[in-house]
Amino acid sequence: MLRLGLQTAAVLVVAVLLILVAGANPVEAGYYFVYGIFGNLNGFAEIMVKATPLIFVGLGVSVAFSTGFFNIGGEGQLYMGALVSAMIALWLPAPGFVRVILSVAASFVAGGIWAFIPAFLKNRMGISETVNTIMFNYIATMILGIAIRGFLQDPSDNLPQSARIGVEASLPALLPPTRLHLGFVIAVACALLLWFIMRRTTLGFELRISGSNRRSAFCTGIPVQRSLLLAAVISGGLAGMAGMSELLGVQRRLLENLSGGNGYTAILVALLARNHPLAVVAVSIGFAALQVGANTMQRQMGIPASIVSILTGFIVVMILSKEFVRIYREHKRQKVSVEQV
């Protein structure tokens, strides 16, 4: 409790310093930060909107992490999911809701495949996924770039973006005029489902055990290869659904930079949530609130966007160092006991 208090104080002090040095009034900034979050319905809904992709990718990352697959490829999987959703939503001659449902499924498959490849290479050939998933992010960005300048480009102009997806093939808004959309509900449902799968089903058992000790799992007859690949597919699939949700729920048009770094932020979400699906939801909402508050601050006062990155990074560093006192004591105790010897 004390530690939490101290850490909060430290974050506040850093925030105040950064704002002061940037030449703004910290009290006013604080006012807008809180106002942005609680001041109106719109801000509140925005938090859910921003949390949605984080929940999806965060869940994906947590599944991957708990099976020992270090998936830094959320960004690329998100893009592949968005790409496939866009193709279905724009091209498929079918009623809107059918396109939406197919998009949801297809985005899962596309993101899943994008994670499956590095996972397969890891399992079969021992290629480290850390580097490989990063490369796959760039390759996905490349494919997206080609798509929106080629076969998916909006024919009505020459902009590097797809045509706009009609309302009928979008995720319905839940609370007009805010942007809150069905994607948030789907994300929370995914979290519940994932929690159930990981804790209560034999499938989850296989995933967990295969991640903990492959060899033992294999020797006792658990289908290890299948489990690890499946975990990667689920992981990538959820990230792909984030792409679908951003596309059909928010942007309704495929364009560059759709993700805006959610694939990386989600890694921090999974870390803070300790890979627990329900905690992922809570942490994502926290991250989103931080962003929404900070954005309001920026809009009202022109406080530079970089402050948010610094603060987020700082908070994560603080959380990573939360054991500092314990470890410091451990080291110190060792030294003291040595003195006594």
Binding site: A22, G23, A24, N25, V27, E28, Y31, Y32, Y35, G39, N40, N42, E46, V49, K50, P53, G145, R149, S156, D157, N158, L159, P160, Q161, R164, P177, R179, E246, V250, Q251, R252, R253, L255, E256, N257, L258, G260, N295, T296, Q298, R299, Q300, M301, G302, I303, P304, A305, S306
Partner: protein, 326 residues
Amino acid sequence: ACGGSGSGGSASGSGSSGSAGAGEYDAKVALCLVSPANDGAWSSYAYNAVMAAKELYNIDVKYTENVKPTDMEAVFTDYAAQGFDLIIGHSFSFGDAALAVAERYPDVSFAIIDGTVEADNVASYNLKTQESGYIQGVLAAAMSKTGKIGAVAGVEGPAIIKVAEAYKVGARAQNPDIEVMTAYTGSFDDAAKSKEAAQAMIDKGADIIMGGANQSNAGMIKACEEAGVYCMGELDQQSLAPQNVLLCNLSDIENLVAVAVKEVVEGTFSGGIHEYGYADNVLSLTDYGELDGEVPQEVKDLVTETMEKIKSGEIEVPRIEQITND
């Protein structure tokens, strides 16, 4: 020239709370940017323009930098709800957000720079930048001794492509045998790539290069400086290498943003797609700076003449938004 975002705090005016009454000002203007306000190019133009307008008129100005595509609608909604009179989206990608929010806030004016959207209260303010590409092509072709010139562009998008393509057209109009090399680095950030692309052209014999990659032009200019060849940049990039940068497209976008602000303040704003070029005095070029003595008088005359022809409509510069391969 570049103010930087740090002065942002002061830009917001003094610390009145969120519901500042519009009454104190003639207008409230919000600017939304896709990159940092101090990127030294694209976003800096717009930032500088609204700050200049603030000096000129009695207006309140706020801005947001680094807006991600998925946040655009949220930012617009927020400003519109606060009763801003003009919301400027400084990239085509704000188009959808503008249309969506404009419907809910019919009293607010939306200006999209370099956009494709229009509505009663939404206007796209576009530049005929192809005209400046054309002129630079003429100049490059006239100045080149090797018969080879180049253009290094950033991300492939119509706004960039149309300049590079017009550059080819202008150069060929001047010298049908000229060889024009173009390269896209795929980034406005990666100056090292811009430098490498320019170097590749220099190695192939190019002796004058045009830049169309915003802040990363710095790399191209660096390559030209090292190789001792001429180049052309944007905004105030002449200062990066005064002995090499012949001229720059001057502050064109700054003028465009200024026009939008002016229209709103003066009550002449109208929805639609507005295009501006040299004839409107929105586009212009810098002078030759320290290289004034190096440019032959007949070349200077040629440039002036071409510009006049464009203004008068005698030359209609084509708008080519797809890369051509010849």
